[in-house]
Symmetry: C2
Subunit: 233 residues, 2 copies
């Protein structure tokens, strides 16, 4: 059975990317990171998603990005709320403060290392160039350059055993398109998490803030897809 | 003052690479990793080297590679001693068990993230294609592909503020050449560490095993350079 390493954050996109890999017949090796993110409850979601999608293995790597800093997601920079920033996405070249320097490069590099060890030729990433046009490492040209580098970087590729391919099956989809595709492929959207800045609930647990870029993009996506977000049931 | 992120392991090569950056007038930002390596005393050496070379900052990142496995340096695979493997290096295409899958890719990715945040255009790596010909991620074509990818991956490069360059100043030098260059540039070789499999000393501390590939390559290098290794004083 062909194997794939799936970058799984616990968000909508990575869960859908994993469902695409499953629908294409891959054995699933889910990879998540504890990188000092503020929205750490993402990881609990990732665990549940990996379980329900019958991942062969789920590896959580401790890779601390807080020392590097430079992002609202890993340092004390404030996560913008109801900002004009989200609205500006796409047409204008605005790179948001929630961008984490080199994050996808770092995550893909770990995925590459694991792929080499288990001899998986496919790496799946939920990168999306539509809603995340401001993130340079979500663009097709980045994915392609990473793939080229990967095939020069590893023992198995240099020996000709494996040619790595980085799959970014959602790269050209709108958020509504991703939500529809997830629904078709059996993603349980109630398990996914998007909020960058969750609010502690009375009695334990978290609820999405509703105001950060990620919450707003999610809400708009469900609306356009004509579906109800089960997180708000 | 122009800034450089220096990948500093605490070994001969990275210390020399750092000395090259210093001699070229860079402000030095040293970056080391606690990645679950067996030879963890490398990190103590890295700290001392960063101090004595007046690094502006020394960042140690926790990036656990043990979960990925696949290497004698991070898992239970035995480090080869006095093997024919070291001898086979160079002419034959042998990739040793001490190769860590995608390690340089992962380390360079973190370096890229930090370089973006501090706006350093240079990243220095002590990669060497002569003694480490078996490591795919020590070859010039890998370094070049990483550089191409890096310039598509980050906010500052996409915005045109910085064009990243990965410097591998030792890539074509023999170990003897690296040792001579280090001596010229004031590297204190007594602070550097090479052994993959250190032996605990009575009364505390460690001594090099003398038998692993890395010890053997070091010994041969000092011999060929006509210098005495101060580690064995």
């Amino acid at each position: 059975m062909k194997k794939a390493v799936i970058l799984l954050s616990g968000g909508l996109d990575s869960a859908t990317s994993m469902a695409v890999a499953r629908s294409e017949g891959y054995e699933l090796y889910a990879l998540s990171f504890d990188y000092g993110q503020r929205h750490i409850n993402e990881l609990d979601r990732a665990k549940k998603i990996a379980e329900t999608m019958d991942a062969q293995k789920h590896l959580i790597i401790n890779a601390d990005l807080t020392g590097i800093g430079g992002s609202a997601l890993t340092s004390d920079i404030e996560v913008p709320k109801n900002s004009s920033e989200a609205a500006k996405r796409g047409s204008e070249e605005v790179i948001p403060v929630t961008y984490v320097p080199a994050r996808n490069t770092i995550f893909l590099s770990f995925a590459l290392g694991w792929a080499e060890v288990i001899e998986a030729e496919a790496i799946f990433i939920g990168a999306n160039a539509v809603d995340y046009s401001g993130y340079p490492d979500c663009r097709p040209e980045f994915i392609s350059a990473f793939e080229d580098m990967a095939n020069l970087a590893t023992k198995v590729s240099v020996e000709g055993k494996i040619k790595f391919r980085v799959h970014a099956p959602l790269i050209d989809l709108t958020k509504a398109g991703i939500i529809r595709k997830g629904a078709e492929l059996g993603v349980d959207h109630a398990l996914t998490w998007s909020c960058y800045d969750p609010v502690t609930k009375e009695g334990g647990g978290y609820v999405p803030c509703g105001g950060c870029d990620s919450c707003r993009i999610r809400a708009k996506g469900f609306e356009e897809a004509g579906l109800k977000d089960p997180l708000f049931d």
